[in-house]
Amino acid sequence: MADLSVNISGLTFKNPVTTASGTFGYGDEFTDFIDIGRLGGIFVKAVTGRNRDGNAYPRMAETASGMLNSVGLQNKGVDHFCREIYPKIKDFNTQVIVNVSGSTVEEYVEVAERINELENIPGIELNISCPNVKLGGMAFGTVPSMATEVTREVRNVYKKVLMVKLSPNVTSITDLAKAVVDGGADVVTLINTLLGMAIDVERRRPVLSTITGGLSGPAIKPVALRMVWQVHKAVNVPIIGLGGIMNATDAIEFLLAGASAIQVGTANFIDPQISVKIVDGIDAYLNKHKINKVTDLIGALRTE
């Protein structure tokens, strides 16, 4: 049994396998299938300042080796989270990170301040892929100066580990990574979904009510892996990598590219036990290759 633990900005994860926000609910739906305590951590779904109904139906379209979603941050708001959800998840035997979203800098700050008070939440993950209402719908995560600003404002009020999750829909992912590190991010998570679209040719209509939506699943893995690699070379903070991870081999690819931990997203829908299987698969790989600790894999890609 190899040492699977990783240290991410001072937080110890018992292994590098975590679950992606929006694909794992608040963890409770998974207790039928797995022992959540076997995971390195879980990223619970986006929390915003107030209740959001999300987008209209239909919200999902299957695509080649992937899916599009337009859930639209449906959640009951930070009050409800602190009051109703937190008590249920605070004693999970794993790191519980909250994904924080908003449409204005003030909303991000407000949510971060509230989550800061929750003792058993050691970190937040800022989801800056949301459209910024003040910036005419342009996502915070696509303009470096905006990304720095929202990170800095949250950093001012948030005292624990601050992770920022980047959108892949940009010309230069390294510019965005540098921007959030400048703003005070301890960790960068990448990638969120690629913006995509699907059309029903029989009805001659978009499949999603929102026309476009977020593409996830194995289809995006090559792009995600490339971005992790680019950011790993460009910034000096730990990276959490994700995008299309379906098995231990995929997870190891991300570690080699420079991720200190990985998140399992869409794969949870197909096999709710997959995250635990990936923990076992990484262990088996390390044993097979006689590597004592998983940290020896991080960024260990040979390119000479």
């Binding site: 694909t23 299938f33 999300g54 209209a56 239909p58 999902m60 299957e62 080649a64 197909i270 709710p272």
Partner: protein, 259 residues
């Protein structure tokens, strides 16, 4: 009663082709079946079908605790169902089940079931279940044409069956909702359970409201997970957007805000 969801490799122990577009799979569970209620569904992994990435949802058609089997009634629609239609006895199938809520237990004996197309799937299980509660429902089922009419003997065991076909080749001609049973001034039912295409369910709901009959419908929706975590399958209700795969698929029409 516990509702532990399972992911199991079930074995195909029976395959019945009802007609060119529909077939029934009988699946044997490797362990004692969990408690399953009528209206619940299963998420099926379609292995070996390149264009089928996500699981496919199907209602539980019948449950046989003595044989430890469930059955699914499947209509061939696209790649996934086409692939399932090629399964053979002895093949195994990865299934997540039981999922979703269920039809409520009626407080009356005057029960009507209405089903159209593959929407009949959960109604056979429901009629068996009602039979156990000493209730003999009326069952109206609609098909496209004579050759698609099937399993009528099975339904007849548990209720009084009325058939429609779109082309009038069997039973009354027209859609399910055109059946003469709905033309009476006072419908002799206190509860309707309905499953089928959206348009059909909306018409039945309108009739039910008109006649002040309590009515539950089983909704379809595009699902990614089927167990409540992706929020892809919502429907607007009096409590906001609810998940068809957890709070549903069965909803009382009073709670729905049909678009």
């Amino acid at each position: 009663m516990q509702f532990n969801k399972q992911v199991q490799e079930l074995k195909v122990t029976g395959y019945t082709r009802l007609n060119p577009r529909h077939f029934v799979l009988e699946l044997l569970a490797p362990e004692k079946l969990p408690v399953i209620l009528p209206g619940q569904f299963a998420q099926v992994l379609v292995e070996g079908s390149p264009s089928t990435f996500l699981r496919r949802p199907f209602s539980i058609h019948t449950v046989d605790y003595s044989r430890n089997t469930i059955r699914l009634l499947i209509q061939i629609k696209g790649e996934g169902t086409r692939h399932l239609a090629r399964l053979k006895e002895g093949d195994s199938l990865n299934v997540m089940y039981p999922l979703g809520n269920s039809f409520s237990i009626p407080t009356t004996k005057e029960v009507l079931l209405v089903g159209g197309g593959c929407g009949v799937a959960p109604l056979l299980f429901l009629s068996q279940f009602l039979h156990q509660q000493q209730i003999r429902p009326s069952i109206v089922v609609g098909f496209r044409t004579r050759e698609e009419v099937s399993e009528i003997e099975e339904y007849s065991r548990y209720g009084d069956v009325f058939v429609t076909t779109d082309d009038g080749t069997e039973g009354e001609k027209g859609l399910v909702v055109d059946h003469s049973i709905f033309q009476k001034e006072r419908l002799p039912f206190a509860k309707i359970y309905c499953c089928g295409p959206d348009a059909m369910m909306k018409t039945v709901a309108r009739l039910a409201r008109m006649h002040r009959i309590d009515c539950e419908v089983s909704l379809e929706n595009t699902m990614a997970c089927g167990f409540g975590v992706c929020l892809c399958c919502i429907t607007p209700t009096d409590k906001g957007n609810e998940r068809v795969c957890v709070e549903g698929p069965v909803f009382n029409i009073n709670r729905l805000k049909w678009q």
